[in-house]
């Protein structure tokens, strides 16, 4: 290529005058040829592309669509751009003098587009080649593909598909060379020269950028993924190579920490990384907080107070049930759904996207440590191995990739985050609107809807106060229903015993057995129901207060406290008379003994005949059941207590003692009959 240029120069310096003219003409001719070459090759290139894209691709039916997408990538876009490029280039042909300049301008215009469209194609080229390789392995398929290609483009030759696929790559790298050729044959002082020069270097940049882009993509795809390795897989991966790598890195890091070795400070990167770190923190925190919020919402929706039935047919209770049901079936589930779709899902996607950059940052640091060590070595030794060179390249690739794209990432992430937060706020507003609408409808049906809130609150407070009293009254009424009476009228023989206990211990210590007690231990008593005992101690020797020590009048022992009830002794007539204050029994009429003048003989007592008795001799006297009699002597002349001397109806005589009893105890105490 440059030989022409040399020739042009030598011929110029060699022959003055007419020779100049000749060499000028020659360069001009060369220039025109180069231009022609550019245009012609562009035409045929485009033609081939179109054949590939339409004829060949459509006939490759047996390949799945996914494969075709990878193979042909964005060939349609390339065709579009190149068609326009060709059109513009062809237009320049009409303007002969300025053609070269116009060509230069055209390329400068198309620089950006060419870079965008070709870098995509180039980036997927490797993958396309892999596919071609797999096809080659299947002879049947290979033959078919070859057949199709040969039918359309026989010049493709035996390598068929790979020959075709590489054509765009070849073309884009050819542009700088073609332009260079034109440039060489252009006079430096021509106006076109500067433009053309710029165009040439521009296209050169395009190629460089495309390469760089491809390399970055390769590096990124290598390191962005974190494979979920099991422990075993991790262990399997450890070999001497990886171990040495890791230990070297670690020692490098330690050296840095210890200050033995300078750390490569890269403020720009560190700032970027810091910001990325905060963005990640923001995203992950928000995600977990939203998760907690959603959990709480779910928990809240689990409770359904409206489901309980108080059997209240109308009014606010029913209104509330309708409202609550409505909210729970519609408004809230909708809210939850939207929250999940518009806040939770995006957050999850955003959080996932963090993984790539995180891995790359980590890998960059690893490579940096490798790189630093290599630099050290370089200083010491003066050279580095191929591997070490590769490490340096990888570090640099990673670094430049991150520096280029992290700011974009941060910005995009922040923008999305803001949108998500706005969505959250909007959804809250919408929920409020939904609930409010329904609640206000319910409110309108309520009896006090016209009242202001403070007035209503006062009203409710008063109402609740009143009903609280009412409830209290109910409670009291129910509590007045007391345990059934457990006292039985005493058997006649027990009278004495009670008297004895009473005189010895006093009235406050007497208890009656409420149900049969059967004693277990040696000190435990066995007593029938109704028996009267006196309390000696309300706990046993071990301090157990449910086991009481009692006196039955004959025996002493332990009984369970739960089977005892306080026994109220009916006062005798004397005690009644003796008492200054009246007996406070406001209940059933206590049969108060009439003030029948009875001689105050201490042993005389008023009793009632329990059973009828027919006198069989003149010493005896007849009794009727329930009749009141006065006992004169509680034994006969011989002292036999089985007979008592009584006076009844003015008559005196003996009657069996067992037919007599004290006046029945008053009506069940503590029970107030309803008035």
């Amino acid at each position: 290529m440059t030989s022409h240029g040399d020739d042009a120069l030598s011929s110029r310096t060699g022959a003055p005058g007419g020779d100049d003219r000749l060499s000028e003409d020659r360069s001009l001719l060369q220039q025109r040829l180069a231009v022609r070459e550019l245009l012609d090759t562009e035409v045929s290139y485009l033609h081939v592309l179109q054949l590939c894209a339409s004829d060949i691709r459509s006939r490759l039916q047996q390949l799945p669509q996914g494969d075709l997408d990878v193979l042909f990538s964005n060939i349609d876009d390339i065709i579009k751009v190149n068609s326009r490029l060709l059109h513009d280039l062809q237009e320049t042909a009409s303007r002969e003098e300025e053609q070269v300049q116009l060509i230069g301008n055209t390329f400068l215009e198309f620089q950006e587009e060419l870079e965008q469209v070709y870098k995509v194609y180039c980036a997927s080229y490797e993958q396309a080649l892999l596919l071609v390789e797999t096809y080659r392995k299947e002879p049947e398929l290979q033959r078919e593909i070859q057949g199709i290609i040969e039918a359309v483009l026989p010049q493709a030759g035996p390598s068929g598909l790979s020959f075709l696929l590489v054509i765009p790559l070849q073309r884009i790298t050819k542009y700088p060379l073609l332009l260079q050729k034109i440039l060489e044959n252009t006079l430096p002082d021509a106006s076109a020269y500067a433009v053309l020069q710029r165009a040439t270097s521009a296209l050169q940049d395009v190629v460089t950028n495309i390469n760089e882009y491809k390399r970055r993509k390769e590096v990124a795809s290598k390191y962005t993924k974190v494979e979920p390795l099991s422990l075993r897989e991790r262990l399997a991966r450890i070999n001497t190579h990886t171990l040495s790598k890791k230990t070297t890195r670690l020692s490098q890091l330690l050296k840095q920490e210890a200050g033995l070795v300078p750390r490569t400070e890269d403020k720009e990167f560190d700032d970027l990384e810091e910001k990325f770190h905060w963005v990640s923190l923001c995203v992950t925190e928000l995600k977990s907080n939203v998760a907690a919020y959603l959990d709480n919402l779910e928990a809240f929706l689990r409770f359904r107070p409206q489901d309980y039935n108080l059997e209240i047919p109308g009014g606010p209770v029913v209104q509330y049930c309708y409202l609550a049901r409505d909210l729970q079936l519609q408004a809230f589930p909708e809210f939850k759904q939207q929250l999940e779709a518009q806040v939770w899902q995006p957050l999850c996607s955003l959080a996932k996207a963090l993984a790539g950059p995180q891995n790359l940052i980590k890998k960059r640091l690893d490579k940096l440590l490798d790189f630093e060590r290599v630099e050290e070595k370089l200083l010491e030794v003066g050279s580095m191995t191929y591997e070490e060179e590769a490490a340096r390249h990888t570090y640099q690739a990673l670094n430049s990739l991150l520096v280029a794209e992290l700011p974009q990432f941060n910005q995009l992430a922040m923008r999305w985050l803001s949108q998500i937060l706005c969505a959250f706020v909007t959804l809250q507003r919408d929920l409020a609107k939904q609930v409010l609408q329904r609640a206000e409808d319910s409110l309108a049906q309520l009896p006090h809807h016209h009242l202001s809130e403070p007035a209503f609150r006062k009203l409710v407070e008063d109402a609740l106060g009143q009903t609280s009293h009412q409830l209290h009254a109910f409670q009291e009424n129910f509590e007045k229903v007391l345990p059934p009476p457990t006292t039985q009228p005493l058997l006649p023989g027990a009278e004495r015993q009670v008297q004895a206990l009473l005189s010895r211990y006093g009235p406050g210590k007497l208890y009656q057995v409420t149900s049969n007690i059967s004693g277990a231990g040696t000190l435990d008593l066995t007593l029938p129901r109704g028996h009267i005992v006196a309390l000696l101690q309300n706990k046993d020797t071990k301090g157990n207060s449910s086991r009481w020590l009692v006196d039955t009048g004959g025996h002493r022992g332990y009984v369970p406290a739960g089977k005892l009830e306080v026994y109220h002794v009916v006062p005798t007539e004397e005690e009644l008379r003796g008492q200054a204050r009246p007996h406070k029994d406001s209940q059933h009429q206590t049969p108060e003994p009439t003030s029948a003048p009875v001689p105050s003989v201490p042993t005389v007592t008023q009793v009632v005949a329990v059973y009828p008795f027919v006198a069989r001799s003149s010493h005896e006297v007849s009794l009727q059941a329930g009749q009141r009699v006065t006992v004169l002597e509680a034994h006969d002349k011989k002292g036999n207590p089985e007979w008592s001397l009584v006076e009844v109806n003015g008559q005196r005589g003996y009657v069996p003692s067992s037919f007599l009893a004290r006046a029945p105890s008053p009506a069940p105490w503590g029970w107030s009959l309803p008035s």
Partner: protein, 253 residues
């Protein structure tokens, strides 16, 4: 209710007419149902308000954590947004607490009070039952003596048995009557008792959600983001995701 574990003397005569027994069981049955429902309602109400409070607290945490992120120092717009959000959340939490307090006072407390009557009622019914058992027992005893040959001692015992029976029967009748009167009254009292509570409950919702609507409505305006329909939101989110994925540093999956 008429379960007698040991058949210590079953009277022959049906001392409590079947209709009375049926009425009693029906009335008591209704009250037992009501007791269960009010108990569970109270529990659910309480749990619901607890969950409500938890939800509000977690909303406050969202804005609190955002506010503490160093990004706020760097990015003024972000700071403004997050501050506004935080203010809104805190205010909502305050209103929520107020709402819950009102519900506690006018719904949960009254429910509790209503429920506290039931133990007394249940005890009263038990005592009536006890009285009934005693009544039955003594009635059987009387009948037993009535059937025997009328000798002196037997007559004496019969007389005594009748004497014992009388107060017990009176006691039962009195208890029975009182409960048959009181139970329906108590049951009906629920109608007037609960209406104010539920009216209050609805009103509390209206108060709270009006505030919520206003606060978040204002905030939406302030954040200057137009409210967009769901599909548009979805597209926006997809667009954001594709933007990110277009970067090489973001892994494709």
């Amino acid at each position: 209710m008429s379960r007698i574990p040991f058949k210590i003397g079953q009277p022959k005569k049906q001392i409590v007419p079947k209709t009375v027994e049926r009425d009693f069981e029906r009335e008591y049955g209704k009250l037992q149902q009501l007791e269960e429902q009010t108990k569970r309602l109270q529990k659910d109400m309480r749990k619901s308000t607890d969950a409500d409070l938890a939800m509000s607290k977690s909303a406050v945490k969202i804005s609190l954590d955002l506010l503490s992120n160093p990004l706020c120092e760097q990015d003024q717009d972000f700071l403004n947004m997050v501050t506004a959000l935080d203010t809104a959340m805190k205010r909502m939490d305050a209103f929520n607490q107020e709402k819950v307090n009102q519900i506690q006072k006018t719904v949960i407390e009254p429910l509790k009070k209503f429920g506290s009557v039931f133990p007394s009622l249940n005890m009263a019914v038990k005592r009536r039952e006890q009285a009934l058992q005693d009544y039955r027992r003594l009635q059987a005893k009387v009948e037993k003596y009535e059937e025997k040959e009328k000798t002196g001692p037997v007559l004496a015992k019969l007389h005594q048995a009748r004497e014992e029976l009388r107060p017990v029967r009176d006691d039962f009748e009195a208890k029975n009557k009182q409960l048959l009167d009181e139970m329906p009254r108590f049951y009906n009292s629920r109608l007037d008792y609960f209406q104010p509570s539920f009216e209050s409950l609805i009103r509390a919702q209206v108060v709270y959600y009006s505030e919520m609507h206003k606060i978040f409505g204002d905030l939406t305006q302030q954040l200057d983001q137009p409210g967009c329909p769901d599909e548009q939101r979805e597209r926006e989110n997809e667009a954001r995701l594709s933007e990110l994925r277009a970067l090489s540093i973001v892994a494709d999956d």
